[in-house]
Structures are given as C-alpha cells and as structure tokens.
C-alpha cells in the first residue's frame, strides 16, 4: 500500500472532514493535537495529513506534493488549477452572491465591485455582459459599499447574518459552494486504488 498525502484546510473544515474520515472507518486517533503542527503522520493507515491555509490546498495538490486534498469550491473556481474534482463532501455548504446597500442601482458607467474573488466576480459580470471595475480586497468586504468604495460586493454567504448586521442585502445568487475532494492527476493514476477506495467510502457516507 502506497503512502498517501492529504492536504487539509486548517480550522473548522479540518475537524469536520477528519471526523468524516473516522466515520467511514479510517483508523485515526480521535484526538489530534493540531495547535501548531503542520504535519500529522498516521502510520497505521499510511496516511500523512498536511495542514494548509484553505486557499493553498489546491496549490499543494496541483504540484503533487499532496495526492488529494479538501478544498472549497470557491477556491477552485477562483484559482482554476489543474486538479481533478472527485467528490462533493457537502460540508461547509454556502454560496457566492452579490450584495449591496438596499434599494440601490449600480453605477451606469462602470460599477465597482469589491471582492476577494476577482476571477469569479469578473467571469460572472462578463457572462451577463455587465462592464464592471473589480476591486480586490482581502477581508471586511462588507465595508466597501458602506463607505462608498464599491456599488456591490461579491462574497461568500452562509447564513446571511454578516450582511444583515452591516445593513446589506443580497442581489444575485452567483454559485453554490461546498467542500470538495480533489486529486492530483498523476496521483489519481499512480495511486488509483487507494484514492478510489477513499472516494467510494466517502461517497456512500455523503449520499
């Protein structure tokens, strides 16, 4: 059995996904000490977890230093990396939407869109034939329309509470998002038996 390296996003998704692997029968320790650790070896299962920033997971997988990984669909859409998207894990389900101040229309010439997903936002407005100016921000996106930096924001929405608390309303639903199991194309071939086994077990559990 070949060693398998799995890139996991740090934080809440890690815990959910890790529990999922335990639930489908992988022999993993119930408690993992992961405060500062970036790598966890599970010799019993010949699995090695690497813990990465969620948006970096597809990078590790694309380059093949991780065979498979768990990444948000938002990250996959934004980065368009060369990885296989194998399974929708149906965890951390949310969606990407545009939002803005209530009862506002977009500036006619080139409405400004603040987002941390410049590619997703650009593609969306391109497809509907709207000329926009994209402003890339790294956080506190909701601030942009409040302070007059942008007409709309494009951001991830799970409950809508953050929008509401900042006096914003949702305008357009752009795409659904959830965590996906992804694989490196070479690993998918060279370690196909192992990866396929994980996919099959998880698939049964998810559905």
């Amino acid at each position: 059995m070949s060693e398998l390296t799995i890139a996991m996003p740090k934080g809440r998704i890690f815990e959910e996904a890790y529990q999922m692997l335990i639930d489908v029968g992988f022999n993993l320790p119930e408690e993992v000490e992961m405060s500062r650790k970036l790598m966890i070896e599970i010799p019993e299962e010949k699995i090695r977890f690497i813990l990465a920033k969620p948006t970096d997971v597809p990078v590790y997988v694309e380059h093949g230093v991780a065979d498979i990984g768990i990444a948000g669909k938002d990250t996959l859409l934004e980065q368009k990396r060369n990885v296989h998207e194998l399974l929708d894990l149906k965890i951390s389900q949310c969606y990407i939407a545009s939002a803005g101040l209530p009862n506002t229309t977009m500036n006619e010439i080139a409405p400004r869109i603040a987002t941390k997903y410049p590619n997703i936002a650009m593609n969306y407005y391109k497809e509907i034939g709207e000329q926009v100016e994209i402003i890339e921000l790294n956080g506190s996106i909701e601030l942009a329309p409040m302070i007059g930096l942008a007409d709309r924001i494009v951001d991830i929405v799970s409950t809508g509470r953050t929008l509401k608390e900042n006096g914003l309303v949702e305008y357009e639903h752009i795409t659904d998002v959830s965590s996906r199991l992804i694989a490196n194309p070479v690993s998918y071939r060279m370690k196909s038996a192992r990866i396929q086994e994980i996919v099959t077990r998880l698939k049964k559990f998810v559905n």
Binding site: E62, H63, G64, V65, N82, V83, H84, E85, L86, L87, D88, R180, N184, P185, V186, S187, Y188, R189, M190, S192, Q196
Partner: protein, 386 residues
Amino acid sequence: MSLKMFEKPLGMRDTFPITYEKIETVRKTGREFLRSRGYDFIQTPSLEYFDTVGKASAIYNASLFKLVDSQGNTLVLRPDMTTPIARVATSKLLKEKIPLRLAYFANVFRAQQTEGGRPAEFGQMGIEVIGDSTVFADAEVIITAITLIQSFGIESFKITIGHAGVLNCILKDYTESDLQANTLRKLLVDRNYVGFEEAVESFHLPKTKSDALLQFIDEATNFVSIEEIEKYVRKNDALEYMQQLIELINVADLSKYVALDFTLSSHMNYYTGMLFEVFAEGSGFALGNGGRYDGLLHHFGSEVGATGFGIRIDRLLEVLPAEEMQDETVAVIFHEQDYLQALTIANRFREEGKRVTLQSKKGLLDEEAFIKQFGRVVNVSQEDLV
C-alpha cells in the same frame, strides 16, 4: 514598465551546464531508440503563420506567442510539433513515402498567464505515424511510448487510454441534446467529476439515462478490463477498435503499464479516435500525451490517418532516476614559459578520452577554488619535459 537588468521574459529559462548535459543524454537515448524503431527525425521552423499552423494547433489561442512580420502577417512561435509536422507531411513528405514515421526533439512555446516561473518554452520529444489508419499504428504508438519511457530507466509509470468515439457514443445515447452532451464533455475535459454529476441531475433526464451516466462516471476511470465498458455502449466500431487495441498491447506483454479511462477527452474536436495520457511517479504533472488526430490531417486537406505522442522533456527530467555523471575531468595548469609542454600534456589526456581544461596560472584569481572543480589537476613544470 521598466525592466530590471537581469530580467528575462515571462516563463523563459536559462539551461545550466548540468541540466544541459542531462537533456543531451535524454536526446541521445531517445534518438537512438526511435531511430532503431524506424523513425526519421525532422525539424520545422520556430515561426509559423497564425492563420495556418497557429489556428489549427490544439493549444489555446491565449497561450500562443504572436508576432507580426514585415509584411503584416501574424506569426506564432510554434506551440506544438504535431501541427507543423502535419503541415509538412501533407504538403510534401506523404508524396514520397506513406505511411510516414517521423520523430522530433524540439522546443515549443506556450505563453503563461498565471504564476511566474512556469516554463513558457520547453523541449518535447515525440513521434507521428502518418498515413496509417489501422489499429496497428495506434498500438505501435502506445508501445513505442511505453518502451521509450522504459529506455530512460523509468519503471513506475502509467498510460491511460480512452477513445473519443466511445465517449461520444455514450454521451449522445444518454442525453437528449447535443448541448447537453457538449456540456458534459467540457466538464470531462476539466476533470470536474462533481460538476458532471451536478449537470446530469440538472438535465432532468429519464431515470434510466441519468442513472447510466452517473454509474458510468463512477466506474469509467477504473475499468480493469475493456469488457466493463460494453454495458454502456451499443456495439460500434470505436468499441471494437479499442478491444483490438487492448488485445495488441496484451500481445506485446505491456498491459501492466496501461489503464483505461473512458472519460478522457480533448477540447479539440479533431481528436476523433483513441487518445492517451502518460503519468510517471515523481512529477505532479502529466509526462505527455498522444492520440489519433485524423481530423488535423483533414484540416490540411489530406484524407489519411495520423497518430502520435509527445512527452515533455522538463517533466521527464523530474522523473528520471538520479544518475551521477561520470566524466573524467583534468585541469592542466601552466606557467607562461611552459605553454608547449602544457599543450602536449593536454592533448595526451584528450586522446585518452578525458575532458581537459587548459588554464594559465596567470589567468586564475583563486587557484585553490578553481582546481576543486576537477577530478585531477596537473601542474605543468619544466620537469615534465623529460
């Protein structure tokens, strides 16, 4: 934009001596191997017209390096070798010999949009068999690919084979419009299996059809034998062709390197027949790919079949087993007055097949650091006269 003094254009790389020698070794091994199998090497120009080769090439338009010549025509730096070879084969070579077995080792150019550092120019080695439409030509290409990779000492690799005809038949039979079939095909090109399942569900197909598609996508990349695909496809030529092809690879006793993947699909519609990808342990990226491209020949006005493959040299270097380069190096260091002796000594070593560096002592800033680079150091002095 102001350029820094040492900056190079995006994606362009220098090849340093150690890598250069590795590439030369690869070239030599590959060349001898392919010539022994009856392939003739050819070279085509670095620049081609955009309207002919550029447009016909399977490489995305945005990846082409474009320039304008003095007559105002748009040119491209060749983005692949298959298209120029198809051009020269139809215009000239096929009239002299058919079928043709051609080989190349050349650099191709593909502009990079993302992430600096990925090479925009890289070497490719490959073959094209033009003018033979039989399954034996495809078997020959796959077997050549396998044995070529073996000739480099690589053992852990896989070739996954699919067939555009089989896939098209399945997509057509289980969907209700060309639009649906094309949507699914596009998702397979991106290897987005999740998207495939979502799309199937969104089509609201009759249950038998959607169930068949979902089960197909579940199994299609992991068929152990060709028989397993049969339940999805009605009897057709493409399926029979694949059965024959797999049988020929079995006969050659190479089936352990081969896996079936009927989701394999190309964004170019002239890949009408079998197609394959090559993966090797040690690199995160595919080593190469190939397939039958009769459609490209038709584009150039010829009705003969063509098939071939290419592997990327940069990826090949990543997966090559580590090998110490054992050149015997000698430095012959001399004082001004001993030049004649130095020449004599250097030539004597060269005749023995050693790599000899002739260096005057006066020209050295740091003799100690310099001589460390060599296996053996000879200081020429008057005593050597005798």
